[in-house]
Each structure stands twice: as C-alpha cells, then as structure tokens.
C-alpha cells in the first residue's frame, strides 16, 4: 500500500512486512503473522497517514519542530522539558472528526468480532524505525493495556503518538542523525488477551547462538511483567527439532498482572502462596508454543523474538496467542563460532582428536 493512497486505519490482516512505512514495524509484523496463519489477537492499525494528518491538521507539527530545533542529545534537562511540552501539546489536541469516527467504527467492529460490547484492548505504538532487524528500538515507545471504550481509546492512541517524542526517543534520533520529520508513528489496537500466562520466546540461544534451541521465558498473567523485567520468569530450553524440553528453571512468582474480568482493567495482584513456585506452563503448552515458534521462524527465515500469551478460560485449541514477533537482533547475520576447524573430514578428525572433548563431557 502506498502511503498517499493508503487508508488512515486498516486491519492487521490487510498489511504485511512491506507495509512498515504505513503501519510501523509492530503492526506490519502482526499482519504478516496473521497472513502466515498464526493465531494473533485481532486488531487494527491507526496508520502513519492518520498520524501525519493529525499532526498537520491539529496544527501541532510546526510548533513541535520549532521546539526541537537546536536541541542536543546530551542536554538531558532541556530534552525532558521539550519532551513534556510536545507531548502535552499532542495529547490535548483533537483528531479531526473523520479520523475519530474511523477509530470508533473500527473499535466497534473489533468489539463485535470479540463478542464484547466494548472490548478491552492493548494500545501500542508501532514506529517505522522500530522492530527492524539490526535496529532495535524496542521499548522506546509506549504501551497501554486494558483500554476500554472509544473515548479512552482515542485518548491513548494520541498518547502513543506522543510517545514518538519521549526524551529518550528524541535523544536517540539526534544521536543517530535521524530527522524528526522523517519518522512516522502508527498505533496498534489489539484485543487484550486475558492471559493466564505469558512471556517471550527466542528461537536461538541468546548466549551462544545455538540455532537448535528455543528459549522460553514465562510468568503468570500478562507478559508485561516479563518484558519489563518486573518478575524473574520461569525459563525453559526446548530442542527445536524434536520439541523435547531440555531444561527448566522454575522461579518464584510473587505477583502477576492480570485482567480483571469484571472491570476489564489490568491489575497487579499477589499470587497465592501455593502457586508461586509452580511452573507457569504445562509441558503440552510449552511444546505447542514452540511448534508455533518454529513455524514463525520458518516463515521469516531467521531467528525470531516472539511474545505470546495463553488464556486458559478459552476452549482448548483456542488458548494460545502470538502478540508480537520480530527478527532476533543479536545473532541474525552473525556467524556462530561453529566452524573453528578447516579442511575435509580427515583434518577435522585429527583436530578433534587433538583438541580434546570438553564439550562432550557436559
């Protein structure tokens, strides 16, 4: 989709990886996953086109760029002040009626799809420079969970757009010489999975680049506590070829973030003592997650970093969701130290005999 003819809003399934300029990396990736047949919670993107229109029609664009002029990336005090001013300006501006109606309409249809009057959603920024292999901006923009109702949604979409101007993001762009005018931001609105357990998976061993394993971090409740490092997650290592669980480390999980079933808001609560030291995942769930991770890796053709959630209130077979997937940034494009030896089979045999067998002795 070319940005100039593209819609201001579009459903995830309408976009793919080549639509980063329009919907940002996160939403493009979610669209790509849906196209690949992966179970992704439904949702839509408020596109960079909507963002551009908002910035120009609400009349904040010029003010923003005037404030940014001459700013230095290491002048922390000024950075903070400018950031606060810009974000307050953006958050208090209004969408044009057409955009706001479109958001409301998409939200209504999403609620219908989820069989809810006002579905609880996650609102996340999806920047165009973010989530690309080799340039991890992950965590630089905002995420809001448990958002309900049109008014609240619209407000948080604007807050996400404003997050393009956090002090950190501004500083980063200055340091990298990226123009503030060139970056667009899209906002993803996605059904919030009322996760019983959630976490992340890497389809490569982050420490040694071993492509034969999937590393899985999991905790109770929403994945935010894992991503933000609030809790020590359970850790599982799974062989990618046979899906055998090779290692498991179960952590104590004193608290979790869950979706309150009546208010549909996120709440942090203490975990009952008897559940704190229990594994957050069943073996069958681990295997199923890894099966999905393997399929995603095959679809992308590279090692992946995947966020997932499980809602155990749903019928079996419908419980697992992939909420994000992006190319892993450390090992892709980098050779593992595998081939320390040169030559044909005989040379390798000789060198193997000589160098000893420390690996074998594990």
């Amino acid at each position: 989709m070319a940005p100039d003819t593209a819609p201001e809003l579009c459903w995830f399934e309408q976009v793919g990886l080549h639509d980063v300029a329009l919907v940002g990396g996160k939403c493009a990736s979610l669209g790509e996953l849906r196209r690949a047949g992966v179970r992704v919670p439904p949702g839509f993107a408020v596109t960079t086109r909507a963002h551009a229109r908002f910035m120009s029609e609400a009349g904040v664009g010029d003010d923003v760029h005037r404030l940014l002029a001459g700013l230095r990336h290491d002048d922390l005090e000024r950075l903070e002040a400018v950031s606060d001013a810009i974000r307050a300006m953006i958050e208090s501006a209004a969408f044009c009626a057409e955009t706001e109606d479109a958001i409301a309409e998409h939200y209504r249809r999403l609620s219908n799809r989820c069989r809810a009057s006002a579905v609880s959603v996650a609102v996340r920024s999806s920047a165009t420079a973010e989530d690309l292999a080799g340039a991890s901006f992950a965590g630089q923009h905002d995420t809001y969970l448990g958002i309900c109702g049109t008014a609240d949604l619209v407000r948080h979409v604007r807050r996400c757009m404003a997050s393009l101007f956090t002090a950190r993001a501004i500083s980063y762009r200055i340091r990298r010489g990226v123009s503030h005018r060139d970056v667009g931001i899209s906002v993803g609105v996605q059904q919030l999975v009322a996760a019983s357990a959630a976490g992340v998976m890497f389809t490569v061993n982050a420490a040694d680049g071993d492509r034969s394993v999937i590393e899985l971090d999991a905790s109770l409740g929403l994945g935010e506590s894992v991503v933000s490092g609030k809790v020590t997650p359970d850790h599982f290592v799974v062989n990618k070829v046979t899906l055998d669980i090779l290692a498991r480390t179960i952590a104590r999980k004193p608290t979790s973030i869950t979706v309150d079933r009546s208010t549909r808001r996120c709440v942090e609560a203490a975990v009952a003592v008897e559940h704190q030291a229990a594994p957050s995942l069943l073996d069958g769930e681990i295997v199923e997650l890894c099966r999905i991770a393997r399929a995603i890796e095959r679809h992308y053709g590279c090692a992946m970093d995947i966020e997932w959630a499980i809602d155990r209130e749903l019928p079996a077979g419908d419980r697992i969701f992939i909420v994000q997937a992006r190319p892993e940034t450390v090992w892709n494009g980098r050779r593992t130290a595998a081939r320390a030896m040169d030559g044909g089979a005989l040379e390798v045999i000789v060198q193997t005999l000589i160098t000893g067998h420390k690996v074998l002795t594990r």
Binding site: R211, A338, R339, A345, L346, T352, I354, T361
Partner: protein, 611 residues
C-alpha cells in the same frame, strides 16, 4: 571428587583370598615394591571396566583382556599413531579390571605425531569399504582355521598309520600344538578386532564434536540418531528367529514348536512330522553362523552361544510365534527409524549457515555412516562367532585334562591361567608318554577348589567405580563414547557410592541412550537366564546388554544399564529397536529391585524409582 588410592584397595585383601594375585598375569598387579611404578599408578586415573566385566575375571578368561590390551594400544600407538593418546593401561584388583588411558602430554609430541596419523589413517578412511571387505576375508579364514583344529584324546597306542606313513609325530605333540594353535588364533583374531575400530570411533566422535560445536545444546542422542537405521549383521540372528517363527506358522508346526520350553523335547517332536523336518532343515541352514551369537557378551566362558543353549533361541521363536498369532507386527521399526533419522538430519542441516559448514557436515556425516557398520559388525565375528567356537575348543582340551585326572570337571579349566594349562598339558603328555600318573592330578584340584572360593568372595566384593586421581576433564573419546565415563557421570557415581542405603535412593542419572519415556515395573537381569523372566511392559535393568537379548526388545518398556556410553552396544541396539534407554547409571542393578516402579526418560537420562 575423590576416589580411593589404588594401593590402599589392592593391598587390603579380602580375608581368605591372600595370594589371589597368582591367578592373574604378574604385570596386572598394582605394585608397592617399585617406587616409580607405584607413583605412576597413584597419579593415574583408573576406572573399573564394568562394560566388559560385570563380574570378576576367571584366570583363563583374562586371556581376552591381554589380547585386547595388545591390539587396542598397538593400533593407537604403534600402527596409526593417534596424536593425543597412546593406549590404555590395565590392572586387576580382586578379579576386576581397571583401565587407564595413557595420554601424550607434550603438545609438541602430539604435533609430531600428526603427519604419520594423517598418512596412515587417511589410507584407511579413503579405502574403507575395500579394506573392510578384505578384513571380512581375513576374519572368516581365521574362524575357519579355528573350527578345523582337532583336539584328540591321547591313545594307549598310536595308530599303526603313524609308523607305516612315517609320520614322526605323536598325538601328545599334536595336543600341545593344537592348544598353541587355538591360543594363537585367539591372539590373531584380536589383532584384527581393532584394525578399524579406533578409526571408526574417531570418525564418529568427530561428527559428534562438530555437531556440538555448531549446536552447543544438541542432545548427543540426536547426533547418534543421524547414524542409525543402517543395516548391520549384528541384528541378523534376531531377524532369523522372526523368519523361523513365520516359517513355523506357514508349515503349521507352530504348536509343536511351542509344546515345551526344552529344545530336547521339541526337536524329536518335530522330527516325527514331515513339515517338522522341513522346518528343521530351514533351521539347520541358519545355525551356522547366526546361532553362534552368544547369550552373553562373549567375554566370559559361561556366555554360551545359541547353538549350545538352544532353549534360548527356542524361547525367542516361541515369543515371536505368539506375537504373530495375535496379529502383532514383529519387525523392528526400521522404516520409522529411518524416516525420523532423515527428518532430524535434514532439520539440523537446515539450521546450519553457509556452504562451507554444509560441506563439512556432509563429509563428516558420510564418514561416520561409512564407519558405523564395522563398529557393530566386528562384535558378531569376534566376540560372538569366534569366541563361541574358541570356548568349545578349550572345553575339548579340558576334557583331555579331565581324562588324565588333572581337573575333576571340564568347567574347572577356567580357573587356570592359559600358561598353567600349557604346563598341565606338558605334565599330562609326558606322563602319558612315560606311562606314569601326572603330578597335576594331586596339585591342581586343590588349587582349583581354593580359587573357586576366592572367586566367590570376589563376586561379593563391590569394586570402586574409579581409583586414583581423575583428570580435570575426561577427554579421551573412547572412554566417553564407549564407557560413558564423563566428569559428570563420575561425580554422580562418587555421590552414589557414598549413599549408605541403596533402598533410600529414589532417582538415578545416566547417559541418555535411546529417546523416549516409559514407566513400568523393574526386572533386574544379571544374566541371560534371567531375561526369560521378563514380562511384557517391564523395564529391563542389567549390568549391560547382550545383542542376543534382542528377541525380548519388542516386549519391554525400556532399558537401564550400569555401564555404557551413547556408543555402547546397549545404547545402539535400543535406538535400533526404538526402545527408550538410560545407560551408564553406575549403580542401577544395585539400587533398583525387581518389581520397583520406574519412570525412565531415555531423552534426558533421568530415572525415577518408586516402590
């Protein structure tokens, strides 16, 4: 990790066994009267070879250890010149054999050895198939020579032919010569045993190492699975039993065959029917050589082959007949094995980056697959076929000794060293020639009685898993692949041997030998006789596993052994039959009791013991 000083163990004789050292070659003793040698022994690391010797060695049976020692070390050190390792030194304490790999410690010397090894090993790797074919000719000729040797009783008067044909040699001379020939063929057969074996392991280990460098977390088992499902003759005897079971059903003689567990009753019953005779003819065709498979490992004289213990293959055939009648598939799951092997191989290959790494993967895998059949097949020729014929030739020699009163029973001969047998034969032939009683008739029976008592005490003694000073890491490839001895397994053994009460142990750890998980009741089987007690779904717990136990594999849930690495026969055979296995647990037969509930995880190497 601490293990006993060898000399503390070797000098603490079990009461009543003092002087046991004379039952074994003198160079097998740990010494206390030669400081340099004693220091070397103390500084070295010695592990008990329970893989080959689950029970103490009989004086005669020690022969195999001597010929094995010569052959293994000569190929490593004097023929191919493996760069980092010379050979494996050996000692005996209370009848149990301890091994110590001898490393080349000077890095410069290791480097100097490389060109020779490249040249010589390279020749074998490049011409593997042709040389292996030549090996087969050599070994079969050796076995044929052994089979042709005649051990003749000493006659009162030599045949008139000796005079008429001017032979000029007596039966006495021929008895001495035949004994020497039998022994010589035993030495020669073992010369061939290691001609390919170390190179085979080296190629195999190199593939394993390559995979572990590329995939640090890869389970060893996945690597070995990539080299499974290759046809080897070690599984042929079991395949022949299946074929005979099918033939029995075709001919309608299955009920006759199942009429008794005693072959001595089944055979005459078959002879009475025309179809039975057809079946017996089919049996006769495969008995040579396939029924020379031993009911044990072949290392002990009491490991009788099927031809000598027909009740064993009979039970196997009866089992297969029962399964065929119930409509069960008795074939080992070769097609699935190969499909899974190919899937795993392709997936791992797909995870490797770069053309150069792919080339190396392909070359090493091809090499490992080329050498693999030898690694299994030599067992049938040497330890099974040759050894079975060899033991019986020795029994013929023993029969002559018995006739002349030097021993009271044929099976007493194993209590003599091979050089003592030679002395006894000299005693017998000279006494026979002179027409007087041999002196040995007075001396040997008493000595043999004493040695029997000593062996009983040895059997009750538990050899420490290891002695001396362990190296920081175990890095000798054969020690790891074959014996399953790693730094980790040693630590586990050391922990367990400190546990006072075996009944208090609720879990064991070993080497993940063959993938899969199974739960069931344990059946501890120390010998081939015990395996007949195995019930369907039970878990076989044994010191080690003999290839001839294959007929029970379709019925059991899993296997657990005391000794063995991922390349031990037990692990290989379990993978080939798709039976989960944990090998090299060190103590399973001591800790687990028949009837205990077990959960065996052949993928992780963990065993849980219930009540």
């Amino acid at each position: 990790m601490k293990f006993p000083v060898p000399h503390q163990v070797s000098t603490a004789a079990i009461p009543g066994t003092e002087g046991w050292e004379r039952m074994y070659p003198y160079h097998y003793q740990f010494v206390t009267d030669e400081p340099t040698r004693q220091q070397y022994e103390r500084d070295g690391f010695w592990f008990y070879d329970g893989l080959h010797y689950p029970e103490p060695l009989y004086p005669f049976d020690t022969f195999w250890d001597e010929v094995c020692s010569l052959s293994l070390s000569q190929y490593n050190n004097r023929i191919f010149q493996m760069p980092p390792v010379r050979g494996i030194d050996r000692r005996i304490i209370n009848g149990y054999v301890y091994l110590s790999p001898v490393a080349v410690t000077d890095p410069e010397e290791v480097k100097r050895r490389v060109p020779t090894f490249l040249d010589r090993a390279g020749h074998y790797y490049r011409n593997w198939d042709a040389l292996e074919a030549r090996w087969k000719t050599k070994i079969e000729a050796t076995i044929a020579q052994l089979e042709a040797i005649q051990i003749r009783a000493l006659p009162d008067l030599e045949d008139r032919r000796v005079v008429i044909e001017a032979v000029g040699e007596s039966t006495g001379y021929h008895l001495l010569k035949s004994y020497d020939d039998v022994i010589d063929l035993g030495v020669r057969c073992w010369q061939y045993h290691f001609e390919f074996l170390n190179l085979g392991y080296a190629a195999y280990v190199s593939f394993v190492e390559f995979m572990q460098r590329v995939f640090p977390s890869i389970p060893l088992q996945h690597v070995t699975q990539m080299i499974s499902g290759i046809d080897v003759i070690m599984y042929r005897p079991d395949a022949e039993l299946k074929q005979l079971a099918r033939r029995a059903l075709e001919l309608g003689v299955d009920r006759t065959i199942c009429c008794s567990p005693e072959w001595s009753e089944v055979e005459p019953a078959l002879r009475e029917q025309p179809e039975g005779q057809v079946w017996l003819a089919a049996l006769a065709e495969v008995r040579h050589p396939w029924f020379y498979i031993s009911t044990g490992t072949g290392w002990y004289h009491h490991d009788r082959c099927w031809n000598d213990a027909m009740n064993v293959p009979l039970a196997g055939i009866q089992g297969y007949i029962g399964q065929l009648r119930n409509g069960l598939d008795i074939e080992r799951p070769l097609a699935q094995l190969r499909a899974e092997r190919d899937r795993i191989t392709a997936e791992y290959r797909g995870l490797i980056d770069g053309a150069e790494d792919h080339r190396q993967f392909d070359a090493l895998l091809a090499c490992a697959r080329t050498v693999f059949p030898y690694v299994e097949n030599h067992l049938f020729y040497v330890e099974h076929w040759f050894h079975s014929v060899f033991w019986n030739k020795l029994r013929e020699v023993a029969a002559v000794l018995k006739t002349h009163g030097v021993i009271h029973d044929v099976e007493d001969v194993w209590y003599l060293r091979r050089d003592e047998i030679k002395q006894a034969l000299w005693d017998v032939v000279t006494a026979w020639a002179a027409g007087v009683p041999p002196r040995g008739g007075h001396t040997w029976p008493a000595e043999i009685e004493w040695r029997k008592g000593v062996m009983e005490k040895f059997r009750a003694w538990r050899p420490p898993a290891a002695l001396g000073t362990p190296p920081e890491v175990i890095n000798e490839p054969f020690t790891i692949m074959l014996w399953g001895i790693t730094s980790r397994s040693l630590a586990a053994w050391a922990r367990l041997s400190e546990a006072a009460d075996p009944a208090s142990v609720t879990s064991l750890e070993g080497c993940a030998g063959s993938p899969g998980v199974a739960s069931g009741r344990a059946r501890v089987c120390r010998t081939g006789d015990d395996i007949r007690l195995l019930q369907a779904g039970e878990i076989l717990v044994a010191p080690t596993i003999s290839p001839s136990w294959a007929p029970v594999f379709p019925r059991i849930g899993a296997c657990v052994t005391d000794v063995g690495g991922v390349m031990s026969h037990a692990a290989i055979v379990c993978r080939e039959y798709g039976v989960p296995a944990v090998v090299g647990t060190g103590h399973a037969t001591r800790v687990i009791r028949t009837g205990a509930m077990l959960r065996v995880d052949g993928s992780s190497g963990a065993i849980e013991i219930g009540s």
